[in-house]
Every structure is written in structure tokens, then in C-alpha cells.
């Protein structure tokens, strides 16, 4: 029997926003554990706190209270957190991010966009041949193209390639198909599933798309900042 390590551990996480005099809990005392190799989908209605939770788990945002540990490091403990530079160092070691709007740099080619993370940091064991990643994602012929010359699906695959170059431990995807049609959405779902199944990449996916959510083996439903349902799906 093999034991898989815990990569993210959140306990009693709260995120409170002030809206005038009102205090709104975007995340309300949520706890979860994510193990290496898991593929977790977070679904729920708009305003349920999905993206906020993803940002907290990915160290892009701080919780108001609760305890969060990633990769064995406590990054937040009841209101006390790490500095921005410490969080950056953790982010670049552990996480790869993909966003709904791709956020590619418009003046850089596909290859250059994928190489951007290396400008700031090259993790030990990072991908040596970036073209191989592009080839895996069917982008090798588009390496010299600018983002404006690509379709939405291709742009999101470039964003995935960019997230993968430093071989992250966890890929965090926030509505990656939000701007894509159903066919391209299926394509992205397939890519994510392959990354999880063939390469064992841990993935946390936030989506409104039920079909895409089914790519994951663990599906968590949020409502008002709380987990209201959690289901595990059998292997595909």
C-alpha cells in the first residue's frame, strides 16, 4: 500500500470582506486536505467563494483566520501570515496557475510567453525542453505566433504550458474554460485529465462547467463559503 503526502492542508479558513459596515464571509470556516496526485473540482453558484478559496490555497490571497499549510510550510496561522516575498518563493516552488482570461503577454510569442517564468525563476528539475511541452499540447507549430493569432483554446493551452514549465506540484485552474466554447472546453478538460492521470499532477479546478468538473475524481460543492457536498468519483 502506498501513502500519498498531503500537499495542502486548510483548517477553519475564513475570509471576511468588509462591504461598508457589513462584513461578508466569502469563506466561512472551511477545512480541506489535498493529497499529491489528487484532482479536485470545486463547483458552486456564483459568489459561493470558489475563486476566493482557490486564491487562498494558491497563496495569492491571505485568509482572515484559520490555518493553512502548503508543501509542509505553515503559510498562515490565525491572522499571521508570511511576507509577500516569502509567499512568492512558495508560489514559484509549488504552484502553476491558469486563469479564465489566459493573461498572455500580447507582445511575446507563444514560446516566449511559456518561457516567462524562467526569466524570474528556474526550478531544479524544471522542463529542459519547452518545445516538448508545446508539442504535448499541440502547440509546437504555433511557437512563433503572437497570442492574437491564436484561438481561445490555443491561448488557454499556452497558459497551461506556461504553468507547467517549472513542473509545479499543484496546478490551480480558475474557470479555465470560461471563455471557450463547448468543444474547446472538452479539449481543455482532456488535457487536464491527462496531466493528472499520466503525469500524476495535483490539480485544483474551479469551474461552473459541470462537464468539466467531471474530469476530476473529487468534486466539492461550495455554497456561501462552506462545503455543502463532496463526492469522490471512481477512476476514469
Amino acid at each position: 500500500m502506498t501513502t500519498t503526502a498531503t500537499i495542502i492542508e486548510a483548517f477553519g479558513i475564513k475570509k471576511i470582506y468588509k462591504r461598508g459596515a457589513e462584513r461578508v464571509a466569502a469563506i466561512d470556516g472551511l477545512s480541506l486536505t489535498l493529497k499529491e496526485g489528487e484532482f479536485l473540482s470545486i463547483i458552486g453558484p456564483s459568489g459561493s467563494g470558489k475563486t476566493t478559496l482557490l486564491n487562498i490555497l494558491g497563496c495569492l490571497d491571505n485568509p482572515t483566520s484559520g490555518k493553512l499549510a502548503v508543501g509542509g510550510i505553515t503559510v498562515h496561522d490565525n491572522g499571521r501570515g508570511l511576507s509577500e516575498s516569502q509567499l512568492t518563493r512558495i508560489r514559484r516552488q509549488l504552484f502553476g496557475y491558469i486563469f479564465q482570461n489566459f493573461y498572455l503577454i500580447p507582445t511575446l510569442t507563444v514560446l516566449e510567453n511559456v518561457l516567462v517564468p524562467f526569466t524570474f525563476f528556474k526550478k531544479r528539475g524544471a522542463e529542459k525542453d519547452v518545445m516538448a511541452i508545446l508539442k504535448n499540447l499541440g502547440l509546437d507549430k504555433r511557437a512563433g505566433h503572437l497570442p492574437r493569432e491564436l484561438s481561445g483554446g490555443e491561448m488557454q493551452r499556452v497558459a497551461i504550458a506556461r504553468a507547467l514549465v517549472n513542473h509545479p506540484s499543484v496546478l490551480l485552474a480558475d474557470e479555465p474554460t470560461g471563455n471557450l466554447d463547448s468543444e474547446r472546453s472538452r479539449e481543455i478538460g482532456q488535457v487536464l485529465r491527462q496531466l493528472n492521470e499520466k503525469e500524476g499532477l495535483t490539480i485544483v479546478l474551479v469551474t461552473h462547467n459541470p462537464e468539466l468538473a467531471l474530469s476530476a475524481r473529487r468534486i466539492m460543492t461550495l455554497k456561501d463559503g462552506k462545503i455543502v457536498e463532496e463526492q469522490a468519483r471512481p477512476e476514469h
Partner: protein, 401 residues
């Protein structure tokens, strides 16, 4: 072909600037204009001073020590009918040479005679006895139309000023007869026109003139050239302390000219400073706008692993590139348009020396470009700091402005 699998900060910065070509171009032009004014101004500063120094050097000595009461200009002497000459003993040369500020001295003796054959009713002719060893060195501006200086210090030879030779219709090889003295001398040189009193003067070796006029051991003036670092007014005071002499100095002339030029220089410097300030504001505005427009992108860079220092460096690099390009363009402009600038300055100035007014060398260009880049770096601090302290999530969520 294998793709290059590396992307430097420089490449990102360069492509960012290329994104808004017109804005970047206009900013570069602003910096270039400021650099152009800066380089031209400092080029003018040193060029004008050098030319003025050269012109004054060509005029001869910076100071003349003459016997008290003795006219020191041929014209004054003529007005006085050739009378009133006062003499100093040659020993004064030794006293002057002892002063550490003195670079070289040249003793002179002036004599005037009435020439009944000059003009319709006769006229005065001025003779200047000079030391052939020192006088030509102190008068580098004098050049020969024909011939050269004397063959030896006691030679019975004359060198004639341009107008004197014209008046006397003499050429090299001719004989010249000093009126009243009945002494024959050989013309060995005729000078080019200099625009000074030298044009009407007839030069003889000092010793020859002293002998002919019976003034052995006597001088009427001593020309002095001092070291460049010498404080002329102080040295002038020192010379006044010598017995029975008066001092005539070109310092005052030079000071007056430099004062006039300084006024013009201050005006141009003010314009240059305003131009630089405007271009710095332009740089801050361009970079700040670019930072505000790219907030989301900066947030993504941070999410992709960029530290605050990386973002700071990126924005600073963009600022430096703008300034460097502007500096290089401005330097090129300054060099290419230096002749035109010089022409325009000549039209503006009340007096300008004959040499080049603008002197632009590699050192000036290097210093100016460095100064512009340093100013650019200074102006890039605020936008770079703003970008660096953005939190990734806030930046990603921000609305484009």
C-alpha cells in the same frame, strides 16, 4: 531550427516599449531634445572658452609692462607726434622673469621717426625692436606673406607689417632706409594682415634698433605671457609694484567678453534645465501609464514567480532603455547639427571668437548620456516602486485604467 529557450528581462522590457510605439517614440524624442540642448550647451561652453583663449593667445601676450607715462600703442604715439617715449632698463626683464606665474616674456623697444617722404607732407613711421627668440612665440597669430623672421639677433634686417609694406611698396630682398638715420636694412619678411597695429609696424631685431637709435640697454615695453592657472588680476597687482612701470592687461577685455557670454549661457542653461525637467516628467508619465495599463500583467508576472525586485528591475530597465535611446539620439543630433547650432549662436552673440564655438568630444557625449540615464533611473524609481509593491491578486483583479 532550434528555438532559443531563454527570455531575458531585457527582451521583455524591449517588447513592452514596442507595444506603444508612438508613446515610446515621443518620450525618446523628448529626452533626445533635452540631451541635444545639454550637449550643445556644454560643447559651446568649452568651445567658446577655448576659442576665446586661442584668440587672446593669438593677440600675443596677456600683459604689457611699459615705462610709466609711455604710450603703449603706436596710434597713441603717432597722435603725440612720436614724442613722449619713456624707457625702462633691460634689467626689468630679469625681475619679471623671476615671478613663478610668468611663462615667457619678450622685451621690446619702440621708436618713431618722421619720414618726409611719407604721404604728401611726410608722416611718422613706427619701428619695433623685438627679440627674435621670444617675440614670434608670443605672437603665434602672425604669419608671413613673404619671407621669415631675422637671420640673427643683430642682423640689419627688417620685417614689415602688411600695411607698412604696401605703403612703402617693399618686397622681400628690397632695401629699406630708416629716415633720419640713413641706415640701410634688408627686408627679410612681410607679414600677412593681422587686423592689429602690427600691420603698420616695421620690426627690427631689438639689439639692432637699440644701436641705431642709441638706446642700448633700454626698453619701452615688456610683453608677458603667464601660466594658464594664473589669477591675472592678482598678478597685475604684483607687476604694479615694480618701480616706474604701468601695466596694461587683456584681462579686462576677456572678462567683459566672458560676462556677455555668461549672460547668454545662463539663458541657454535655463532652457536646457526646463527641457530636461519636461523630458523627465515625460518619462515618469510614460512609464507610470504603462505600469497602470499593465497592472494585470504585472500581477500575472508575480503569480508566475517574479519577486517585487524583479518587477522593479523590469520597470527600471524600461525607463533606462527610453533614456539611453533618447540620450544616444540626442548626442547624434548634437554632433550632426553642431555647425548649424554654431551658426545660430554666432547670430545671437554680441561677440564671438574666430575658432569653433562648439566643441563636442567623446567625453562630453559619454558624461551627458550617463547623466541622462541617471536622471531617467531617478525618474523611474516611483513607477517601478508602484509596480513592485502591487500584490498579485489585487493587480490581476484591477480594472484597466
Amino acid at each position: 531550427m532550434k528555438n532559443r529557450q531563454r527570455l531575458s528581462l531585457f527582451q521583455i522590457a524591449w517588447k513592452n516599449l514596442a507595444r506603444k510605439k508612438t508613446r515610446s517614440f515621443l518620450t525618446v524624442v523628448g529626452i533626445a531634445l533635452a540631451t541635444w540642448v545639454l550637449i550643445s550647451l556644454f560643447g559651446f561652453n568649452s568651445g567658446y572658452k577655448n576659442s576665446l583663449d586661442r584668440d587672446i593667445d593669438n593677440l600675443g601676450f596677456q600683459m604689457l609692462v611699459v615705462a610709466k607715462g609711455c604710450p603703449y600703442e603706436a596710434a597713441t604715439l603717432m597722435l603725440k607726434g612720436g614724442t613722449g617715449l619713456k624707457y625702462m632698463n633691460e634689467d626689468i626683464v630679469k625681475l619679471i622673469t623671476r615671478e613663478p606665474e610668468v611663462e615667457s616674456v619678450t622685451p621690446m623697444l619702440m621708436q618713431v621717426v618722421f619720414d618726409p617722404n611719407k604721404g604728401q607732407s611726410g608722416g611718422l613711421t613706427a619701428f619695433l625692436g623685438i627679440d627674435p627668440a621670444t617675440f614670434p612665440r608670443l605672437k603665434p597669430g602672425l604669419s608671413f606673406k613673404q619671407g621669415s623672421w631675422f637671420t640673427n639677433p643683430e642682423a640689419r634686417e627688417v620685417v614689415m607689417g602688411y600695411e607698412a609694406a604696401e605703403l612703402e611698396q617693399r618686397e622681400v630682398g628690397d632695401v629699406y632706409l630708416i629716415p633720419e638715420k640713413e641706415v640701410e636694412l634688408k627686408v627679410v619678411g612681410i607679414l600677412n594682415r593681422s587686423g592689429t597695429q602690427d600691420d603698420g609696424t616695421i620690426f627690427l631685431p631689438l639689439q639692432t634698433l637699440q644701436k641705431i637709435f642709441g638706446q642700448e640697454g633700454q626698453l619701452t615695453s615688456v610683453g608677458i605671457k603667464v601660466n594658464k592657472e594664473t589669477n591675472l588680476p592678482l598678478f597685475e597687482e604684483k607687476m604694479f609694484k615694480l618701480p616706474d612701470v604701468q601695466v596694461v592687461s587683456l584681462t579686462q577685455v576677456k572678462t567683459t567678453i566672458m560676462t556677455l557670454v555668461s549672460t547668454a549661457r545662463i539663458l541657454v542653461l535655463s532652457i536646457a534645465l526646463i527641457a530636461i525637467l519636461i523630458s523627465i516628467m515625460g518619462v515618469i508619465n510614460t512609464v507610470l501609464m504603462s505600469v497602470m495599463e499593465r497592472q494585470k500583467e504585472i500581477g500575472i508576472l508575480k503569480a508566475l514567480g517574479a519577486l517585487a525586485s524583479d518587477v522593479f528591475k523590469l520597470i527600471w530597465l524600461e525607463t533606462s532603455l527610453l533614456c539611453l535611446l533618447g540620450g544616444l539620439l540626442g548626442a547624434g543630433l548634437a554632433v550632426l547639427t553642431s555647425s548649424l547650432t554654431e551658426y545660430l549662436i554666432r547670430q545671437l552673440l554680441p561677440f564671438s571668437p574666430s575658432g569653433g564655438l562648439i566643441s563636442i568630444d567623446a567625453r562630453l557625449i559619454l558624461i551627458s548620456i550617463t547623466a541622462v540615464v541617471l536622471l531617467g533611473l531617478l525618474s523611474g524609481i516611483y513607477p517601478a516602486f508602484r509596480a513592485a509593491r502591487m500584490r498579485p491578486l489585487e493587480a490581476i483583479r484591477s480594472e484597466e485604467e
